[in-house]
Amino acid sequence: MAELSFNTERHVKYYLRCLKTFLPGAYTSNDSNRMLLAFFIISGLDILGALENKTTAEERQVYIDWLYRCQVPTGGFRGFSGTDFGEERRNADNEAWDPANVPATFFALVNLLILGDDLSAVKRRERLQWLPKLQRVDGSFGELLGPGERIEGDRDLRYCCCAAGIRYLLRGKHGKDVEDVKDIDVPKLVSFIEACQAYDGGMAESPFREPHTDTASFQLLSPGSEEFETLVAWLASRQTGEIDSDDEEEEDEEEDEDSGAEGPSLQEDGGSIEQKILSLPNLTPLTPDSIPCAGFNGRCNKVADTCYSFWNGATLMILDRYSVVDDVRNRRYLLEKVQHLVGGFGKAAGDPPDLLHSFFGMVSLAFQGEASLGCVDPALVTTERVTRHLAALPWHEQAPSAEAWKEVHL
């Protein structure tokens, strides 16, 4: 087998194309997520070590200026310029149609930090006053405030994660200069997050829903506890050799009764359970070569998807349990199955690259120490240069890390 390699040059080209030219029209349905797309682009270039040598200080400054244009007059950031109908027209009746958005505000702040801004033009106090208004009685956070300051958006751990992120970035460890601003209800948030852990150890988007990896990234558990260990077990069992549901040729030795029109079915029929077990075939033992590569899924019994190499990996990084991953098979999956010739990564084998999967595929490799990539902080998902820059802000006295992140949120 030829030596697999991460094609740094192609990936840099891919990100530069996304930075300097228009994204294809297919991204229109992601228009409202431009702040997130911007994060993928500039954080991606930074992790590749290309942000500072492929863009000039002047260019970075005009990007910063655009980010500040997305700050709404009352503080916080919109997700895209599309809702902006002009400050001169803004009034109490229409401002709900151009609101600050929780995930967008988090990513805008991170984007500013990546570009080297010191957040001095961020309406910090206003933002911290806004946050508690987005928290529901059950402790969860919404996406934005709609008409009449109604909390809009689903009860979703990802909003909780972004809200806690905003609090962390803007309040800092001791809330310097904003001591008088009412804080969010941290114990309530913690109890909501705890309630999201499902019967199989995974974390759902909200209580009793099916566990899903996007949301597991938030960590408050202690090693050795049952909750901690079942979450590790759940995350480890997300790694799978099932690469593509359409491709029947893929290795699938242990599951000969794979799904299909004629799959096994829970019909009532005769025979005791004991007899049925007796007649079941033994599994065929596997050799180390049986499954050459293995990515991750986000839910039980789904096929691998590039972004879950990141979501599961980041959570395990935060839990300090990345070592349970089969990093060799994950790398082979990423480089052999989903890395694209033109640079970037697709969602599944053979898919064209897109920004989300390109970024998450690359960060997954960075977690595993891929030679040409910088170290990535699993909580902020930025390079260590950015976490150092954050630590130097006046209201952040100590270096942030996954540990500090946890500490602040406990």
Partner: protein, 334 residues
């Protein structure tokens, strides 16, 4: 601008507000998209009616056009909902339209949130509309693991108190008959059977899970247990396991059931034992469960290690590092 709206007399009195991405100033937008012209025009008119906070039929139609091009637009849906209520529109008609949109954009979250916003109007929907669950089953026929649809169905159960409605468990049975690996259906089943139902508990998760005073061992444990129902659920899981022994869903469902009932994993030692004979294994999940039962019993630590070694070396090479981690934990305890 020359387009559908610019040429429409109904819109003649509206001055569209073009996208201002700062290109006139010295700023450089990030993540600029090559929008199709229809989108550029429709959103320019949307900004104009939003700025005027216009609640009108034409604005309602406009939101449909924007949604068709960008169903993830987060304020257009809230705006649409506000117009619907302001004009006292028929929500049944809105649902019929939503059904079409939902089938077209299977992966969209906002559509389902909008549906929930409308359905939560007690005035319009004092009880669940008769066709609602049929439509959800139509969605599941397209993708039986659609997270948004399951989220919505979960909400419906709580909103209309459908835990014991026969239709719920019938649909779950039908979906599990069609695909015994449908983990979404297993998860919903667990919610129907074991979730707390109190009004004042804001949908807490595993029973008493969010309560800080609960010890980990009591998390998920029900105060009152219907032992017959628990036995029936455990048998249901066993039947599913026999059909597909490598299917993780029913194995973990059963663990959840045992936990809710306050029964130990040891209750399944005999059942799991039937899948393992020396080195011959019929289910890796049975091996894992047995190893856990043995590990809890201090005297059988070595047997647990042997079983996990079997997984590591013969049956589950992807998780070699993970099984090593578990083996080390047992060795420390021993």
């Amino acid at each position: 601008m020359d387009g559908q709206y610019a040429n429409d007399p109904e819109w003649a009195d509206v001055t569209p507000i073009p996208l201002d991405d700062g290109s006139n100033e010295e700023v450089m937008p990030l993540a600029s998209i090559a929008y199709p012209p229809e989108y550029i025009e429709a959103t320019s008119y949307l900004r104009a009616v939003m700025a005027a906070n216009e609640m009108s039929e034409r604005a309602l139609k406009l939101t449909q056009d924007v949604i068709a091009l960008n169903p993830a637009h987060y304020t257009v849906w809230i705006y649409r909902a506000k117009i619907l209520f302001a004009l006292n529109k028929s929500l049944e008609e809105e649902m019929a339209w939503l059904n079409k949109v939902s089938l077209k954009y299977l992966k969209n979250y906002q559509i389902w949130h909008h549906r929930q916003v409308l359905m939560s109007s007690r005035e319009h929907f004092p009880t669940i509309p008769p066709k609602e669950l049929d439509f959800l089953m139509e969605m599941f026929a397209q993708d039986s693991k659609n997270y948004h649809v399951w989220t919505y169905r979960h909400w419906l159960v709580r909103h209309f108190k459908l835990w014991d409605s026969p239709r719920e468990i019938e649909d779950i049975d039908a979906l599990l008959k069609a695909d015994v690996r449908n983990n979404s259906a297993w998860s919903h089943r667990y919610m129907l059977r074991f979730s707390p139902r109190e009004e004042d508990v804001p949908d807490s998760g595993l029973a008493n899970a969010g309560d800080m005073s609960t010890t980990p061992a009591d998390k998920g444990r029900l105060a009152i247990v219907d032992e017959d129902m628990v036995d029936a659920e455990l048998e249901y899981a066993q039947k599913a396991i026999v059909l597909a022994p490598e299917n993780r869903s029913p194995w973990w469902y059963a663990r959840g059931v045992l936990r809710a009932a306050g029964r130990g994993l040891g209750e399944w030692e005999e059942f799991a034992g039937r899948f393992v004979e020396g080195d011959a294994v019929k289910s890796t999940h049975a091996v894992e469960l047995l190893a856990e039962v043995y590990a809890e019993d201090g005297e059988k630590g070595q047997k647990a290690v042997d079983l996990l070694t079997l997984l590591k070396e013969r049956y589950d090479p992807i998780r070699k590092n993970y099984w090593d981690y578990r083996i080390k934990q047992i060795e420390v305890d021993v």
